[in-house]
Symmetry: C2
Subunit: 333 residues, 2 copies
């Protein structure tokens, strides 16, 4: 299939940039030192590429992601880096032969893990982002409680998510060090071999974790693209110009339902994006493209963009044809 | 199924508010004077309720919505209020017995309609929103061109989308009148029985169109809820508290991948929403709910919220149980 024959809007993946990103990260964080986060792409075919690059453990954000990864044969070491109050579906994955480690940060979530048939947990530690994670001072008590319920406590996790896009880099480094000091303090209380955290924005800064939970590095977006990272934009949204306004703008057929908008508007090389509607993007450039022309859009935030699509197309190296079509098969909950 | 047994995040619909919205709109815009826009809900089961309320023509934003409505037996009069450069899938719907009217605003989209097997069009007119629609002065020429290619020109459409959320109402009214003067001028050039436009925000203001393209009225969102409209919030996102932070916040299991974010954060009655992450919403209230509690979230923008979900649950009138589960079956493109 030629790329011009794709029904738009369509997610397309540049294989050269993808392979570059896989190789750069595998060199920086080889093997088990990276636990790729599948929430960024929700695509088992892409996770298989990450496994082929040497990373066999994965991070998940939802029960559905854990189930889908296990069903795809990628369940040798799955970390659900999130709390759940009903772990029975995870227990079923464990009973089916998958290895699932669950984040816990309270008595209630420890109890849910044990009751649901999960056998392994990590203590989730609040390292500064006001989200999940217990107080560092409470981690020893929580680990003890988990062990008393028969759970194996593999270690700790703590995500410095509020620092991922911080500029300049020197501040990102200093603040990451302070966050990771809290995580190490907790690790001293909890024990175990796992210290999990970090992300794309701190991939070469966070030297304190034993495994990095980066996800965005593999496809990238314009928010991460503004940082000082060696990863290249690999994901684009292909759209078709459907209207050219007499006032100096053009309109293509992709909008709010094809793009995560929490980081603002997407971008188009050489053009100014005016705004997005449900199924439209209005932009200007000089000269304006004709009706029927293709435009290539860079999402501002990869994770919620991919979650709108049921497939993505890996292109050939010359960008002309579709080499493989991958189901975005980890969507939903 | 009790609502507490739903896997969260889950879209739930209040049947009392839904019936109220259907009744209020059917009284204000009975029968063919409303052409409900299915993009707001993407759910044929809900469109069937709108048909039962007397509205048998529908507005669509994508080819997929047209195909799905026709397949669900709701294809007696479908308007695709958007331009396409390849109308062959629409031609197939027509060949299968559906009635499809397509918006055109250029020589290229007129040619695409004819080549694709579509038989009926409306001329899409730019009435002030910088998006699709031709210059009002060009409408007569375009209608002539369409007729020369054998197309039936049913009339005109023009969407005053930039005015939908305008406050105060007196400005919304004055500006709508100015926009509709352009549309009436175009109608004079084009002819035909259809003058289509308007939306939820101008449902009782826009007296110039023969049919109103409102969609949001039936489920509503917090953006429209801030206006002076008689429609009630009928759609909520049910989420579960998974973590309660020691710093005075709580976290529930719904985030960027369950909520359209272009209108900003969602809201929770009696609480302050801090921010949304991929799969989390952090909020504060007094007292904080315990882990495991349910919270009910009002989306800021209904259309891109629904597009993230594969189903929605109609509750019983007492809000306790699931009466029906509807597939959000018009997603994708």
């Amino acid at each position: 299939v030629h790329v011009s024959e794709l029904q738009t809007p369509a997610l397309v993946v540049d294989p050269v940039a993808l392979d570059h990103n896989l190789a750069v990260m595998a060199a920086a964080r080889p093997g088990a030192r990276l636990r790729p986060h599948v929430k960024a792409h929700k695509t088992t075919a892409l996770a298989a590429r990450q496994a082929a690059a040497g990373h066999h453990g994965f991070t998940c954000a939802t029960i559905r992601e854990v189930e889908g990864m296990a069903a795809a044969g990628l369940g040798t070491d799955l970390l659900l880096a999130n709390e759940v109050v009903d772990a029975r579906r995870l227990g079923a994955v464990v009973a089916g032969g998958g290895r699932v480690t669950l984040a816990v940060d309270s008595d209630a979530t420890v109890a849910a893990a044990a009751a649901g048939g999960v056998r392994e947990v990590v203590i989730d530690v609040n390292v500064g982002l006001p989200r999940c994670g217990c107080d560092p001072a409470d981690t020893g008590r929580l680990a003890e409680r988990a062990r008393a319920l028969g759970l194996v406590v593999r270690g700790v996790m703590g995500y410095e998510g509020h620092l991922m896009l911080e500029q300049p880099r020197v501040d990102r480094r200093a603040n990451t060090e302070a966050c990771m000091a809290l995580l190490q303090q907790a690790h001293g209380q909890v024990g175990g071999e796992v210290v999990s955290g970090g992300g794309t924005g701190t991939y070469d800064i966070n030297t304190w974790v034993t495994e990095l939970q980066a996800g965005s590095y593999v496809l990238m977006d314009s928010a991460y693209g503004a940082l000082d990272l060696p990863f290249r934009q690999a994901l684009f949204l292909e759209a078709t110009v459907i209207s050219v306004g007499s006032g100096g703008w053009a309109v293509a057929d992709c909008g709010l339902k094809a793009l995560g908008m929490d980081h603002g508007n997407p971008s188009i090389d050489g053009a100014t994006v005016w705004f997005c509607s449900d199924e439209h993007i209005t932009f200007s450039c000089d000269p304006l493209p004709p009706v029927g022309a293709r435009v290539r859009i860079t999402p501002a935030h990869v994770d919620p963009t991919v979650a709108y699509h049921d497939r993505m197309h890996l292109l050939t190296a010359d960008g002309e044809h579709v080499a493989e079509t991958w189901a975005v098969d980890l969507r939903g909950w």
